[in-house]
Symmetry: C2
Subunit: 157 residues, 2 copies
């Protein structure tokens, strides 16, 4: 065997080991899919009332904004750890295959969302409606952009 062939074989072995380790020890793909959907569902419920306030459909409530934005801030980082290899299928999902084929772009979008949410949570502490609306607008843009690019309209299996 050449040196390159040995290195390639070693890399393949390492990858296989990692795969086995993932399959044996890590959460199953269906659990990862369910987990990231769960987090998104909880986030959505917390974002709803803030969206209504931002659109003027509900009165601004500083306490609700502070509580909900803090909750979203503590949740927003969680789903992005659950898009690992092999979690593109195993249960109905709206995750676009681009999550895995354009992973760098997805990572940047995820980081953008986390940054926008952190800014919202910080702005919410001040209790000023105008600053909330500005920060919430950025969160909305980040959510929409990532969903447009990486979420399919219908569930796929």
């Amino acid at each position: 065997m050449t040196r390159i062939a040995i290195a390639t074989a070693a890399a393949a072995l390492a990858a296989a080991s990692a795969g086995i380790a993932f399959a044996q020890q890590g959460p199953k793909p269906e659990d990862e899919i369910r987990y990231r959907q769960s987090v998104m569902n909880v986030i959505g419920r917390a974002v709803g009332p803030m969206g209504a306030m931002a659109q003027g459909k509900a009165s601004f409530n500083a306490a609700v904004v502070q509580k909900n934005s803090a909750l979203v801030d503590s949740l927003i980082g969680l789903p992005f750890n659950s898009f690992g290899p092999g979690t593109d299928k195993g249960a109905p999902t709206k995750a676009d295959p681009k999550v895995w084929t354009e992973s760098e772009k997805f990572k940047q979008a995820a980081e953008g969302a986390q940054k926008a949410v952190a800014n919202l949570a910080a702005a919410a502490k001040g209790g000023e409606e105008a600053k909330f609306k500005a920060a919430f607008g950025e969160v909305g843009k980040a959510c929409k952009s990532c969903h447009d690019d990486f979420r399919t309209k219908e569930f796929r299996n």
Copy 2:
């Protein structure tokens, strides 16, 4: 119509109105079921590593305990608002019918869980393993007690 008949009719009308208001404005039963399951799923993922530490299967990690207990503390109150009238069915659920027939007992169990989790989050800030284990033990008891009494083994529709 007698006075009682009028009062009964008025009560029925009020109940019907409330029902319509619920159906039109509130979340649908299936959304409530999905929401409370989502929250419980996210809580479970955060509790897991703490359980392993409490059982000595993983090394105590003060930072993880602090982060995860704070997350659970911010989530534990949420599902209990989603067991309203009519949410005993509409999607597969493990919620025992006793949630609605023994609602006072359920409320007490829910409050007990919230108190135990608040104590855990407070204890976690100190970073002491012994205090974490004691507080986590109480959380485990509260979870188990409520699940034993109010969660069925299999999903029902």
